[in-house]
């Protein structure tokens, strides 16, 4: 029998296939180009531009002035404070989310789904509105404050302090920690735990040696999903922290608005983006190793 396909035909078919794929992806490619790649290019261009004395941004003389300023004391203080807040938020989220995720994934399927919906309910209303709601709770006559005072925690008002910011960040990003943790704990084969128990491991040892290492992909994913947005957070510090202490997000906004220093704002943005990018790369590297 004569061969029906030739290598040439095969290649032609493959090319047609990839052209179809490209056409399907085209709308989103255009969208990303217009609303993401181009603005990103503008930000990067700005970071190398010059600020005139009147606060305008001069695009025709390129320099590294904005990056040099990153080493200034105040900028570094803001960066480190953001870093500290992000780490603290991540650690607290992890400590709260792990037992919760563990609990959910050991329930029966129906209970499990109900609880997961419960975790996602907050997403049904706007983040900004929810953050303002916290402001009401945390104010002098707010419920939270009154309860704290009632329990003898002294003046319970924490609004416009770092505590309020951390609380807001943890509140906002906790689901991002719970969900990946749940996903990876739920996937663990429970016969492995039984295997460990059978091999003389106590409950704690079988957690430490089996459950925890096998849930690591979830720990890493959740930590990055919380760390990255916490580092650049703007809304929460602005509303609950009163912006008394500068954090990266608000400091960048300041540069573009009040201080009218576009290049510095842009170079700070590039730094934040770089941190996020590194976080994401670590995530994928880890993911790749564990899958």
């Amino acid at each position: 029998m004569a061969a029906v396909t030739t290598p040439g035909l095969e290649r032609q078919a493959e090319r047609a296939e990839s052209r179809r794929g490209f056409l399907l992806g085209l709308p989103s490619i255009i969208y990303l180009l217009v609303f993401f790649v181009i603005p990103l290019g503008v930000v990067i261009a700005y970071s190398f531009a010059t600020r005139t004395r009147t606060g305008r941004t001069e695009l025709n003389s390129w320099n590294l002035e904005a990056y040099r300023r990153l080493s200034e004391e105040v900028v570094r203080a803001v960066a480190f404070r953001s870093l500290w807040f992000a780490i603290l938020t991540t650690v607290i989220c992890l400590a709260l989310a792990y037992p919760l995720a563990y609990f959910i994934s050991t329930r029966r399927p129906t209970t499990r789904n109900l609880m997961l919906v419960g975790i996602m309910i907050p997403f049904w209303s706007n983040f900004l509105i929810r953050t303002y709601a916290w402001r009401l709770l945390l104010d002098s006559d707010g419920l939270f404050t009154q309860m704290a005072s009632g329990m003898g925690l002294g003046d319970g008002r924490i609004l416009f302090t770092s505590k309020a910011v951390i609380l807001g960040l943890v509140y906002g990003y906790l689901p991002f920690m719970v969900l990946p943790l749940y996903a990876s704990i739920e996937r663990i084969d429970w016969s492995l735990v039984e295997g460990a128990r059978d091999l003389y491991a106590s409950g704690w040892e079988s957690f430490r040696r089996v459950v925890w290492p096998l849930s690591r992909p979830g720990v890493i994913a959740g930590s990055i999903l919380v760390f990255v947005p916490s580092f650049g957070a703007f809304v929460t510090p602005a509303i609950l922290g009163g912006n008394k202490k500068g954090l990266m997000g608000s400091y960048i906004v300041d540069q573009f608005m009040d201080s009218r220093n576009g290049p510095l704002g842009a170079s700070l943005s590039v730094v934040v983006l770089a941190v996020m990018l590194i976080g994401t790369l670590v995530y994928f590297r880890q993911g790749g190793r564990n899958l």
Partner: protein, 356 residues
């Protein structure tokens, strides 16, 4: 069996999951050093029984002791048994060596001794040179060996095995059956082996307990289980057989459907409906009227004859039923053909009375 040689004892053990009675009032005694198999179809409660011994499940009722010690609520890590799970349950994030050493590590065996024991177990299951591999880099048979080594390295008093060869292909399974049996003899540990494969149970075990719907129907040597089953289920589950429906006439006589009287001992009371079971290879086919004296004879007609290479199987219809007969090919000199008038004979001593 004297007191000291009992490895595992279950008394009136029942396990319920909600409305499901998974294990129903089991009494079982396994001797020290014995290779004991729990045999039964899927869902009959074998795994549940094993898990109760391991402490992974607690009995709803009854008592369970290991080497004379009542287990009660004792957690799995405090019991002198180890399990080879059906799915192996190897830790995917640990290499072969760490997997095997896990139990020793948990028991805080010191490093040098641990290392020696792991070496011993690794060479016992012939996994030398693969100690640094992760479970997903091993074949099914190799994973099975690691699972075995991981349990054996702890020198448990009792080793529980839940269909450990189920995932292997036929050839490897047969090879592993022999290896397992040799290994058990070598290390002298009591094995409680769960399987739904009757051939596997018969070839490997010292004794077999046949389970059905949560109950233990019969506990005996493989030979006794095969030759002298006491319930219809056991007779049918272990190999092929014929059931001749009958009624008990007296202590040593039953009446077959056709009115023939057969001398077989039975303890069932007069009038009980029973069946006499005869294995196909215990039946012989003769030309009509040529069967020897002293055996029980039934006249019939050959329905079919199937040549199997080493044997020939006939289906012969006597007036009220069909009989399956198996003759070694070497003895089938004068082969029968469908339509031939024949006489089928058997020795009443080679039958067993079953109920159920």
């Amino acid at each position: 069996m004297s007191e000291t040689t009992i490895a595992v004892e279950l008394q009136g053990v029942t396990k319920r999951f909600g409305d499901v009675v998974a294990v129903d009032d089991i009494d079982l005694t396994v001797a020290d050093g014995e290779f004991f198999s729990l045999l039964g179809p899927s869902g009959c409660g074998k795994t549940t029984t094993l898990r109760m011994i391991a402490g992974l499940e607690l009995p709803s009722q009854g008592s369970l002791s290991i080497h004379g010690e009542e287990m009660g609520l004792r957690p799995p890590n405090k019991r002198p048994v180890n399990t080879v799970f059906q799915s192996y349950a190897l830790f995917p994030h640990m290499d072969v060596r760490t997997n095997i050493g896990f139990g020793l590590e948990m028991r805080k065996v010191d490093k040098d001794e641990r290392s020696d024991l792991i070496d011993w177990a690794v060479s016992l299951v012939e996994m030398d040179g693969m100690e640094q591999r992760k479970p997903n880099q091993l074949s099914g048979g190799q994973q099975q060996r690691v699972a075995l080594a991981r349990a054996l390295v702890n020198r448990p008093e009792v080793l529980l095995l839940d269909e450990p060869l189920g995932a292997l292909d036929l050839k490897l399974r047969q090879q592993m059956q022999t290896e397992l049996k040799n290994l058990q003899r070598e290390v002298g540990i009591t094995f409680i082996y769960v399987t739904h494969d009757q051939e596997e149970a018969v070839t490997m075990s010292d004794r077999i307990g046949v389970m059905h719907e949560g109950r233990l129907l019969q506990i005996d040597t493989p030979e006794a289980i095969y030759e002298r089953p006491i319930t219809r289920f056991v007779a049918d589950f272990i190999g092929r057989t014929n059931f001749l429906e009958a009624t008990v006439a007296s202590g040593d006589e039953v009446v077959l459907t056709n009115g023939d009287r057969l001398r077989v001992p039975t303890s069932h009371p007069e009038g009980t409906a029973i069946a006499v079971t005869v294995r196909p290879e215990r039946l012989t086919v003769h030309g009509r009227g040529q069967a020897p004296e002293g055996s029980h004879r039934l006249d019939g007609v050959v329905d079919s004859a199937v040549y199997l290479g080493n044997a020939v199987t006939y289906s012969v219809s006597v007036d009220w039923m069909h009989l399956e007969i198996r003759c070694p090919a070497s003895l089938a000199g004068d082969r029968r053909s469908p339509g031939d008038d024949v006489t089928v004979s058997f020795d009443p001593d080679h039958t067993s009375v079953v109920i159920g």
